[in-house]
């Protein structure tokens, strides 16, 4: 009998599905399932719509066999979309009990699962529509489950990878050891990087009444060297917040796959994506972030310069010359280039790769401020905005999905103003150069500058005063 959707899993596949379901259960009660001709996606969206988890299972590598034949209705619908798909929603609780941990204890008892076959009964002439799971065990024991499902339109969170300039990648087991330190009552996780160190702070502000455990707001900070990351390209002094619960759920699952987690984000209030994949399973999590993007304290990330060559960016700068001195970019790429234009003026060599050393990165620091010696506590702020991650889309490419909000218009609101920075920077930069000759010790004390001047971290008057005393 031909089914709309059928696939088979090995015993390991069953365990992986179970792991994924456990992770999804931490996001939502329901699991949505989307089948396409080449992949199956399990996804969950939490009730406040601030976190979205999806597990994309590859047709060839994850499944023993996989077959999806769209029904007529689905094909018709597909004309409006890119490709036909079958979507439905199931209770995770029901799925979990079907795929529950079978590997460990049952193997000795002799009825371990050898193979799992799933098909969906969804024919128009069939009265009973069911999601049928058949666990075929040793000695010919067959366990069949027929689960009810709800046909729904599945929505996915979109993530704009183009604009997510901040990226890091780290072994999941490293993160796993860290999350153990996060207090059970903490809610928010703050990620902050400065001078080659990344600080993860879990904290809460809410004091839960009638609970003795949490009388006071609890805060746990863990500092990691960026060298512990496989990849680390993050704007200096960027502070971004997500929820501890989501992070823990993700790391716990990633650790089961023994793979590295990649995080991508642009700036606070815009979504962050955590992703990893192994064994034909691609796991992506899109999370709302909180925090304030402080224009005064952070200039554009140096990584912006990487995407454009010098000539290209200079061309763009000339194109935008008419818009000066206040360019209001209308699309992400033009904003990027205008950012670059600003950067170019500051630096003699624009083709240089973005600095990796923390010392070099201090280049972008706010010179008006004293550098704090220790990481400051996270800015307690910004309750989760349920609207910021998922919003109905106006223009859709191929699927019925929600897009991110266009943030370009809000640039000024965020207080991101390269102009003021540049002026103040160049002023002090010049005075710093003048100062160098008189205070060679100061120069030596500065890190190697690779053709790029590092702004002073102390007020010039202070420095001068110090040497006057000598």
């Amino acid at each position: 009998m031909a089914h709309a959707l059928s696939f088979a899993l090995s015993d390991e596949g069953v365990v992986r599905i179970h792991d994924a379901l456990i992770c999804l259960a931490k996001f939502g009660e329901q699991v949505s399932l989307e089948a396409r001709h080449d992949r199956l996606t399990l996804a969950a969206l939490n009730s406040s719509k601030t976190a979205y988890a999806s597990f994309c299972l590859d047709k060839t590598t994850f499944f023993q066999n996989y077959h999806y034949s769209p029904s007529e209705a689905q094909s018709q619908r597909a004309e409006a979309e890119a490709e036909p798909r079958f979507t439905c929603q199931l209770y995770n609780k029901a799925l979990l009990s079907v795929f529950k941990g079978r590997l460990a204890d049952n193997r000795e008892r002799g009825t371990a699962v050898e193979r799992c076959e799933v098909h969906v009964q969804d024919e128009p002439d069939n009265v009973e529509c069911r999601f049928v799971v058949k666990m075929i065990c040793r000695h010919g024991v067959i366990k069949t489950y027929k689960l009810t499902f709800e046909p729904v339109e599945v929505i996915h969170a979109l993530f704009d990878k183009q604009n997510a300039k901040n990226k890091w990648k780290i072994e999941s087991n490293v993160l796993r050891t860290f999350i153990e330190y996060f207090g059970a009552g903490t809610e928010l996780l703050d990620i902050y990087s400065e001078e080659g160190r990344v600080t993860l702070t879990s904290y809460t502000e809410k004091v839960i009444n009638d609970m003795d455990i949490l009388k006071h707001p609890l805060r746990t900070s863990i500092a990691i060297d960026t060298l512990d990351f496989e990849e680390f390209i993050v704007e200096e002094k960027l502070r971004i917040g997500i929820t501890v619960k989501d992070f823990k759920a993700i790391v716990t699952h990633a650790e089961r796959l023994k793979t590295s987690v990649t995080a991508m984000y642009s700036y606070p209030t815009r979504p962050m994506q955590l992703a990893y994949g192994e064994h034909g399973m691609l796991c992506e999590f899109t999370l709302v972030t909180i925090g304030e993007y402080r224009g005064g304290s952070a200039t554009p990330a140096p990584t912006n310069t990487r995407s454009l060559s010098r000539t290209e960016s200079e061309q763009r700068r000339s194109q935008q010359a008419s818009q000066q001195p206040e360019p209001v970019p209308s699309d992400p790429s033009s904003r990027q280039s205008s950012v670059h234009a600003q950067t170019l003026k500051q630096r003699a060599t624009a083709d240089m790769p973005p600095p990796v050393e923390p010392a070099s990165r201090s280049f972008i620091k706010d010179i008006e401020r004293q550098r704090p010696l220790r990481p400051t506590p996270p800015p307690p702020k910004a309750s989760l905005d349920p609207e910021s991650l998922f919003l109905p889309a106006d223009n859709m490419e191929d699927e019925n999905v929600w897009d991110e909000r266009s943030y370009e218009d809000e640039q000024d609101v965020l207080g991101w103003n390269p102009h003021a920075n540049r002026e103040s920077f160049s002023q002090s930069f010049h005075s710093f150069r003048q100062d160098q000759e008189t205070t060679p010790e100061n120069l030596r004390a500065e890190p190697e500058d690779r053709d790029m001047r590092v702004p002073p971290t102390q007020k010039l008057s202070d420095i001068r005063g110090m040497f006057d005393e000598d």
């Binding site: 209770y91 609780k93 029901a94 009990s97 079907v98 529950k100 049952n106 008892r109 002799g110 009825t111 069911r130 999601f131 000695h139 010919g140 024991v141 067959i142 366990k143 069949t144 489950y145 027929k146 689960l147 009810t148």
Partner: protein
Amino acid sequence: MATDGNAERPLFSAVSNSARQLFLLLRCISFAPKAQVQITQKGLRFSAEESQVMQGLVFLEKSLFTSYTYTKPVNENIDDDDDEDTFPIFQISLSSLLETLQIFGINDIKDRSTNHEASYGANGAFARGGAASAFETRFLGMTGMCRLSYAADGDPLRITLEETGVTTNCELTTFEPEFREEILLQRENLAQKIIMRASWLHDAINELSSTSPSRLTIAASPSAPYFTLSSNGPLGSAMVEFSKDPQLLETFQVPSRTVNTYKYSLIKSASRAMEIASKVSIRCDEQGVLSLQFMIEVEGGGVSFVDFRFVPYLSQDDEGDEEGDTVEDVGSE
């Protein structure tokens, strides 16, 4: 006959070397608060009952005890020895009995991983205060001595437990028996007889719990599917199907297809027996009365049997049947 003590010789007295053994067996039928005890010459018969549709029976054989004496009541001159009614029968609180038997701590095999210093065991006084695993009798090479005695009709059941010099005396009030008939299985009209490993049945019953069912349907058939357990719930249905593989179903005697439905929670309450038993015999007569007989290996190599009987739900075509109506009433409560 009477000793120098204050009474004549008790009606019954028995000594067991292992209170744990008695505990594990009796716990199988702990689904009911009270159990009926019948003392016979061959052993102690404990039975528990639920809504007259389920019965659990544990027979503590004479061989489980190191000494077992049953003295027929001398004042009643009844000739017919074999008449069951002459054997004393009473009810006791099963939960209290179980509590008593584990007063020195009885651990499941799983919990026994922590082996504390045996030296503590010498000081029996510590044995009462928690940390039972430290005083696990197996480690210490001594067993929990347990003496049961029942002086005369209407007297309490006396239990004396002794361990490393500490003695606990317990008197459990006995009650008048409430029920006497057992759910009858027509052994000569068996519709099915299946013997399999108890753990597999346990596994299957647990598997079905995922649908949070109220009823369990057991079907056996001489052709495939041979033996299935299935249930329905709000989220869907589940079915466990066993093939005829002799490794799986040791004995499979099903002359014709039978389908019966039972209350799931009742069958589930036999889980304790499924856990510790090695084999189970699943029998069903033509009326659908289900018997689950569990073979439990006891310490020292012998076996004990724990028996459960279940009355089925009335199936569609039996409707109107007198007996069936009463069953349905009870089942739907």
